[in-house]
């Protein structure tokens, strides 16, 4: 290994250094104290940052946990390709379970193919947790995303139904985490709780992380529907009267194709995205997640049902 100058002197220990060290500390606590942990990895930017943090936490060894992705079948192909490439490059074990399996089993009944599948993700996630007996699932959720997340602990305890009880959370003091669960229960752990969208982009820039190209500005066929720009895909086709336009857009989040809206942008590099992020006046979810706009408490309700 090359010898590097530790130029992080105390006065230049930046917010990114502090956040990174905190996240590494959290991941190592999970590895040390949980019997059968897992890292949820989707190929999106937050989970790519999580992957780099896991490398920082555990190399030169392999990760002491597998990666799991719950595939809704509504994911962007570029993101799935990145997911597979990164897992393969790192030589880590990737487990994919898909909503299709749950649909075949009958545990999910889809009413409308063109509707978002996020609400059903919890079902397959809980089935996967049961299949492998996972007791801790690390996810890349951040507190700045949404107000239900703002009140969630870093170690978020779930009962045997996978439910979050916001008024019955364990107190979390200092960096001393209570990781204990009874058999059948599990915890969700959010090592990047304290990161903001800006921190993620700055870290992607600093670490030169490979992210799916749809995060950068590109020309895309979209339709405008209810104030949002919606990408045209095999799942979303224009309704009569709607016009297909080609616009330069980028995605701020890459979730379910039917409910993830891109923003109009010409930012083609990480630095340009950082500059845009610094001046944007709309929150990440407000701009891009149509499913969170249906109710003031959408995320809170989903979390209570086992969503991470």
């Amino acid at each position: 290994m090359k010898l590097v100058e530790n130029n992080i002197r105390k006065h230049t220990f930046t917010h990114l250094d502090a956040l990174e060290s905190e996240s590494i500390h959290i991941m190592r606590e999970v590895a040390a104290e949980c019997k059968n942990p897992v890292l949820l990895f989707s190929g999106g930017k937050d989970s790519i940052v999580m992957l780099r943090l896991a490398e920082k936490a555990f190399r030169p060894a392999k990760f002491p946990f597998p990666l799991v992705h719950i595939d809704t079948g509504h994911n962007f192909p570029e993101v799935i390709a990145t997911r597979d490439k990164l897992a393969a490059d790192l030589g880590e074990r990737l487990i994919v379970r898909s909503l299709e399996d749950s649909i075949r089993r009958g545990s999910i009944v889809i009413k409308d193919e063109s509707k978002p599948r996020n609400p059903y993700q919890s079902v397959t996630l809980l089935e996967t947790i049961a299949e492998f007996g996972f007791d801790a699932c690390m996810g890349g959720a951040r507190r700045d995303e949404e107000k239900a997340r703002a009140k969630e602990r870093i170690f978020s305890f779930r009962d045997e139904f996978g439910q979050w009880d916001p008024k019955n959370q364990r107190p979390e003091l200092w960096d001393t985490y209570n990781t204990r669960v009874h058999a059948g229960e599990n915890i969700r752990v959010f090592p990047i709780s304290n990161w903001t969208e800006m921190d993620i982009w700055e870290y992607i820039g600093r670490e030169k992380l490979h992210i799916p190209n749809i995060y950068f500005a590109h020309e895309r066929e979209v339709i405008r529907r209810g104030g949002s720009v919606i990408p045209v895909s095999h799942l979303v086709q224009p309704k009569p009267g709607e016009k297909v336009e080609v616009v330069s857009v980028r995605f701020r989040t890459v979730g379910d194709m039917t409910c993830t809206a891109p923003v109009e942008s010409t930012a083609r590099t990480v630095d340009e995205i950082i500059a845009e992020t610094a001046t944007t006046r709309i929150t990440e979810r407000g701009a891009t997640r149509m499913d969170d706009q249906t109710s003031d408490a959408s995320m809170e309700l989903r979390k209570k049902e086992g969503y991470f």
């Binding site: 530790n6 190399r59 008024k167 003091l173 001393t176």
Partner: protein, 417 residues
């Protein structure tokens, strides 16, 4: 944002009546940290509730579960940044369970903003907040004298409050206290200085938050490294590699330093210090690193590395601590609990309950039970020795949580005397 932006965590203590939510709203609004969709959501709600102006306090409003059940969830975290610093606000709403909430939020804070209403001055709750801040060892305190607009921005009134507060604060273990007159409603001395407080020459609130010196908030002198995880790749390439991973909680360490491993007391030298990016000559708190040693010694999670020539921590199975009881189920002296201290968890029992402290008057009372929100001095025995410092010296190696083995809940927070 520059690449040398520091992170500052602070909390606000005070009630809605003191204008706490308005102050946070003002800080976020004037530092341009509120987004349009958030602003339009609270505008709609303000309108629905028949308010004339947008109520900035709604920004810190809670979840559906809270509104329906009239409860408040203890801590919400909010984020904003200026070119100099990134801030994490621990927002603890409400009066109920105040002790528990504030202790939780304060445990990771560099700074606490204690709000008083300029008309009312120093109240019982001001004393309570200050006592808790000193108990949890928050390094910096700001007394924000709010609603100065209601007392005609009077310097005399501000000076009176400051004099009274300083007299009280002298009894407490508070090191760095700054008093700022402000009006959250009008925005004076929050982000901008405004035009009404020209007689005040100190920093506005945001200026202070950006400039307060926090490098020495951690113990910089005595190296402390609790082993979190032992890395043994057992691959061809790293066949004999045995790295001890963890976060440096205090001080610094260099290659070649002689270290003692506690509790065993064995000594060896640091062979390498590494992180993912390469090998380091020196590393310091709060970096997460991997350390390899010159000798093969049996070391596991829960052990602590210290420098042999530094002030040693204590290695004991019995100690005194101040406990904040957090659980609805009261402390049962006949039961055994678990104590989690740095990376070590051990069974414990409470051998003595010395006294309970009234958080309002600081008076001590005899106690034989502890209920939620009680602060007490206790004696603890653990099944295995813990390696600790006094909380006054080190907030990491001096703190612990207590876990109820039956429910797995975190039932208390402890600070070692």
């Amino acid at each position: 944002m520059s690449t040398t932006t520091q992170l500052l965590r602070f909390i606000t203590a005070g009630s809605v009546d003191d204008g706490k939510s308005t102050l946070i709203g003002r800080l976020l609004h004037d530092s341009k940290s509120i987004f349009e969709d958030q602003f339009s959501a609270i505008s709609k709600t303000s309108e629905k509730r028949g308010m004339a102006a947008v109520d900035l306090s709604l920004l810190t409003d809670g979840l559906q579960a809270e509104r329906e059940q009239g409860i408040t969830i203890d801590v919400a975290y909010r984020y904003f940044a200026t070119p100099r610093r990134k801030f994490i606000i621990g927002d603890t709403p409400g009066h109920e369970q105040y002790t528990r909430n504030m202790v939780t939020a304060a445990s990771t804070a560099n700074l606490v903003v204690i709000l008083v209403d300029a008309r009312k001055g120093v109240l019982t709750q001001t004393r309570r907040h200050s006592f808790l801040a000193s108990l949890v060892g928050v390094p910096h305190v700001v007394l924000a004298v709010n609603k100065m607009d209601m007392v005609d921005y009077s310097q005399t009134r501000f000076d009176e409050i400051v004099a009274e507060y300083k007299k009280f604060a002298a009894q407490l273990n508070l090191h760095d206290v700054t008093c700022i007159p402000l009006s959250a409603l009008n925005g004076d001395m929050v982000v901008d200085r405004g035009e009404n407080l020209d007689w005040y020459k100190g920093p506005a609130l945001l200026e202070l938050l950006e400039k307060v010196e926090i490098d020495h908030d951690v113990n910089t002198s005595d190296f402390r490294f609790p082993v979190q995880w032992v890395c043994r790749p057992q691959t061809e390439e790293h066949h004999d590699f045995r790295g001890f991973m963890g976060r440096i909680e205090a001080g610094e360490v260099s290659v070649g330093d002689e270290i003692t491993i506690l509790p065993s007391g064995r000594t060896t030298r640091v062979k390498e210090i590494a992180n993912f990016d390469g090998n380091l000559q020196t590393a310091f708190a709060p970096q997460s690193v991997t350390i390899t040693l010159a000798d093969e010694i049996d070391i596991s999670r829960g052990d602590m590395f210290v420098k042999t020539d530094h002030l040693p921590p204590k290695v004991e199975r019995e100690f005194e601590a101040t406990l904040c009881w957090l659980s609805e189920a009261p402390l049962d002296k006949n039961r055994k609990y678990l104590v989690k201290h740095t990376t070590r968890t051990a069974k414990c029992l409470f051998s003595r309950l010395d006294y309970r402290v009234d958080v309002n008057t600081l008076e001590r009372h005899a106690a034989d039970r502890l209920h939620m929100n009680d602060i007490a001095r206790v004696g603890i025995k653990t099944q295995q020795p813990l390696v600790f410092d006094s909380y006054g010296i080190d907030r990491v190696t001096g703190s612990f949580i207590v876990i109820d083995e039956a429910s797995n809940n975190t039932v208390a927070a402890g600070m070692i005397a």
